[in-house]
């Protein structure tokens, strides 16, 4: 045990004496978190819209007022004719046009049905989709109010409700994704670098000649990073909570335990990478390119998996962060417990086992 403690202490010396390591470990999480939180966000504020109101009655006026009053939209122009619509889109400022049909209020009262046309500028498909959703949301909530006021027989209306993230705040989505990406990147990157560094320096041979067992060497190398990765996870959660106001609805302890599990999985991936190469640079490249891109693109972090071609969707199943993101979303935003995330938890445990088994096999082959 004494041997092992000395080993871990040595590892901490390596970490704390290397400025680059310290920057990656502690600077990167905070920077990335702030970047993702503030810059890359799905949220749209004060998008310019135009309204073409053929009716101009009390209902359409109220609806227009509500739409414009929301922080998502800003009324850029009031239109008078249909033919103006294309012009405003072509100019490019206006992202959405809302058209109320003639006699809107009257039709609504008499037939219970009135038409509103929402035109989005789909040259920016994501933005358009989000704007249309926002608008429908506002219209729906108004109709719901009307329904409760009148004694008309209840009619089924397509009501879209944004559960768990009622304001559709983008940052809610980014916190789980960012935690997954950062933990994965830092843990895999740091372990693969620190192990390949010993190989490059030739100190790995000394360790292998020593009475330390192979698993002691590996555990000794990664243990400090479990600890530091955990500190990172806590930092990110605190930043998310205090800076961006992302709530933690579920059990904090469960969330932290799941984070530790994910950290261990990332570390075993880092070990696997380091068994494949002897060079720090290759280890770094592999960790950065091979881990970061799939994490961002295929984990459902930014782009919904459902919208991808089938082949890519299958590929997504083998991207470990995908499962961790589901777990974090469930616990943080929905407040659910283990009963809803056990499957994902098992999958992550499975990944960890596979990575470790492959590493051990690789390790033995190399020794022979």
């Amino acid at each position: 045990m004494n041997k092992f403690r000395g080993f871990v202490i040595k590892e901490f010396f390596h970490i704390f004496r290397d400025v680059r390591t310290m920057i990656i470990l502690f600077g990167m999480p905070v920077m990335q978190m702030l970047l993702f939180g503030y810059v890359i966000t799905n949220e749209i504020k004060e998008a310019k819209i135009a309204i073409l109101d053929h009716s101009r009655d009390h209902v359409t006026t109220e609806l227009s007022r509500r739409i414009v009053a929301s922080s998502y939209f800003q009324l850029a122009q009031v239109l008078d004719h249909d033919k103006e619509i294309l012009d405003v889109f072509r100019k490019g400022d206006v992202k959405e046009v809302i058209v109320f049909e003639a006699d809107f209020a009257e039709k609504l009262e008499k037939t219970g049905q009135a038409k509103v046309q929402i035109l989005g500028d789909a040259s920016e498909p994501n933005t358009a989709k989000i704007l249309v959703n926002y608008t429908t949301g506002i219209l729906m909530s108004y109709i719901q109010e009307l329904n409760t006021q009148t004694e008309l027989p209840l009619r089924i209306d397509p009501v879209t409700t944004m559960l768990y993230n009622p304001q559709m705040a983008g940052v809610y989505m980014f916190v789980p994704g960012t935690i997954a990406m950062l933990l994965m990147l830092i843990c895999a990157l740091m372990t693969s670098i620190s192990i390949t560094r010993e190989k490059e320096l030739g100190t790995m041979e000394l360790l292998l000649v020593s009475p330390l067992k192979a698993f002691q060497i590996i555990v000794g190398k990664v243990l400090p990073y479990v600890f530091l990765g955990f500190i990172n996870a806590v930092t990110i959660l605190l930043l998310g909570n205090f800076v961006f106001g992302v709530p933690i609805q579920g059990s904090v302890i469960l969330l932290l335990l799941e984070s530790i599990l994910f950290i261990i999985m990332s570390l075993s991936l880092g070990i696997l990478i380091s068994t494949l190469t002897n060079s720090q640079q290759i280890a770094m490249m592999v960790s950065m390119v091979a881990l970061m891109l799939p994490t961002i693109l295929l984990s459902g972090f930014i782009y919904p998996v459902e919208n991808m071609p089938k082949i890519l969707q299958y590929l997504c199943y083998i991207v470990p962060p995908k499962y961790f993101i589901i777990i974090v979303k469930n616990i943080m935003l929905k407040g659910t417990g283990m009963e809803y995330v056990w499957k994902e938890t098992l999958i992550i445990i499975g990944f960890t086992m596979v990575f470790l088994l492959l590493s051990i096999r690789k390790f033995k082959i190399r020794l022979a």
């Binding site: 041997k3 000395g6 040595k10 004496r17 000394l206 000649v209 009475p211 067992k213 020794l367």
Partner: protein, 247 residues
């Protein structure tokens, strides 16, 4: 110092990498307490052999025992009895000398009291008081090699394997380095050293000369010099190289 007790026994050691034969039926013994020189040009297969003796890789076939222990089955026991210093400098350069010593000594299971005493003894002997607290990377290169040797033998192993310990080191440091080796051998430690500097061969008790995976000569330097009727080990080596070419 050299005894007749065989501390390393190698019989028909073969190591192949694919179709390449790195060690071709090596057979030799090393006696306890002797300085055994394992000589050969770069690529002769010295490092492959020393790695097998240290347990860093398995032979393809052949028998090897270290201190009476079998390298296939008793590897863990062997590890406790040997020290190893690789051709690349191998102390951690972001740790101080003291930290390096504590780390390696800890790995070999020395008690804290032992570590403290041995560190103090080493610092006194090599007069390291001024540099004990400095990071290794701040030390002059000549020092590093000597310290690496001291650290590799901090647990007083019965046998120490040195793989090209003096490559790229200036002559004065090499001289001092060999004095340290003599010191350890004087204490009864068996020293197994590979080198491609032929002048160093004359410091060894016995030498083997290896080329293309085979051992071509094994004897004391004096015997080899008289056998080939030349003036020094350099010429012995040239003779052997020519003989191989002639065949």
């Amino acid at each position: 110092m050299a005894t007749q007790e065989k501390v390393i026994k190698v019989i028909n050691l073969v190591k192949k990498f694919g179709s390449f034969v790195a060690n071709d039926h090596l057979t030799f013994d090393v006696f306890r307490g002797e300085i055994f020189g394992f000589l050969g040009a770069n690529g002769a297969g010295k490092t492959t052999a020393i790695r097998i003796l240290c347990g860093l890789s398995y032979p393809t076939s052949g028998e090897v025992t270290i201190d009476g222990l079998d390298i296939y089955r008793q590897r863990e026991q062997i590890k406790k009895r040997i020290g190893y210093m690789s051709q690349r400098f191998s102390l951690y350069d972001d740790l101080t000398l003291g930290e390096n010593i504590r780390f390696y000594a800890g790995v070999y299971g020395l008690s804290r009291e032992d570590i403290r005493q041995r560190t103090a003894a080493l610092v006194d002997k090599l007069e390291l008081h001024a540099i004990e607290k400095k990071l290794i990377r701040e030390l002059p290169p000549g020092w590093k090699q000597k310290l690496a040797f001291s650290v590799a033998t901090i647990h007083q192993p019965g046998i120490v394997f040195l793989d090209e310990p003096t490559s790229g080191v200036d002559p004065i440091t090499r001289r001092q380095f060999w004095e340290m080796i003599y010191d350890k051998a004087g204490e009864g430690m068996t020293v197994f050293v590979t080198t491609h500097y032929m002048d160093e061969a004359e410091y060894c008790g016995r030498v083997s000369i290896m080329s293309e995976g085979k051992i071509h000569a094994l004897d004391t330097p004096a015997q080899l010099i008289s056998k080939y009727n030349v003036r020094n080990m350099d010429e012995v080596f040239l003779r052997i190289a020519r003989n191989i070419e002639a065949v």
